[in-house]
Amino acid sequence: MADERNVNARSGDSEQRPRRKYNTRYVRKPRYCQFCSDKKLVIDYKNTTLLRKFTTEEGKIRPRRQTGTCAKHQRTVAREIKRARHIALLPFTGGTWEEKIR
């Protein structure tokens, strides 16, 4: 009798809340650095179309957690963006809101 009750109780529990699979909470999307996977891609201050992907609309450098680049390449990306800013190929701040003020 006691055994049956226990079985019933268990089955009732599992109906109410389904068992969660292990690990599913902690699985992340696999992150990869696009410069590590593609060695031909050269980060250069002249290549503004590439660098624009690594800046926000405001013109800020996007963080690693958004772009997925590795630490080493993030450093070079940041350096090249700063170079491009110096010769006015990229904005320090987004041009959009500045023009609105004018």
């Binding site: 110096h86 010769i87 006015a88 190929l89 904005p91 320090f92 041009g95």
Partner: protein
């Protein structure tokens, strides 16, 4: 001390202790120059020639000049929205770079410049 002229000039030999200008090596640089957009072609050529002159005088050489032409800049420089971009690929002595930069600051038609080691 016995010196081996060939050996001393060889890049594999450590040269940190030799501080003479003659002994250091040519390095490759990229030089980006933004020139004032209102200048005519002659004035642009003149100022470019002055830059080339400074480089060759210090013992360097120009490998390539690349004209990007008139470009819209991302922000205003000297109240101008456009600038004429030139890219020079240069090999020169590292000791001469500082003087080149100082000269470029004085040169008026150049609105902005940047020297990058390759």
């Amino acid at each position: 001390m016995v010196t081996f002229p060939l050996l001393r000039s060889h890049p594999c030999v450590f040269q940190g202790h030799t501080q003479g200008k003659e002994e250091s090596f040519m390095h490759n640089y990229e030089l980006v120059v933004i020139i004032h957009p209102d200048l005519d072609d002659e004035a642009i050529e003149q100022s470019l020639d002055r830059i080339r002159g400074w480089i060759t005088d210090s013992g360097g050489s120009i490998n390539k000049t690349d004209k990007w032409g008139k470009r819209r800049m991302s922000y205003e420089i000297q109240k101008q929205n456009e600038g004429i971009y030139y890219l020079l690929e240069v090999s020169m002595l590292p000791t001469a770079v500082a003087e080149l930069e100082r000269n470029m600051m004085i040169l008026e038609p150049v609105m902005r410049h940047m020297v990058v080691a390759k």
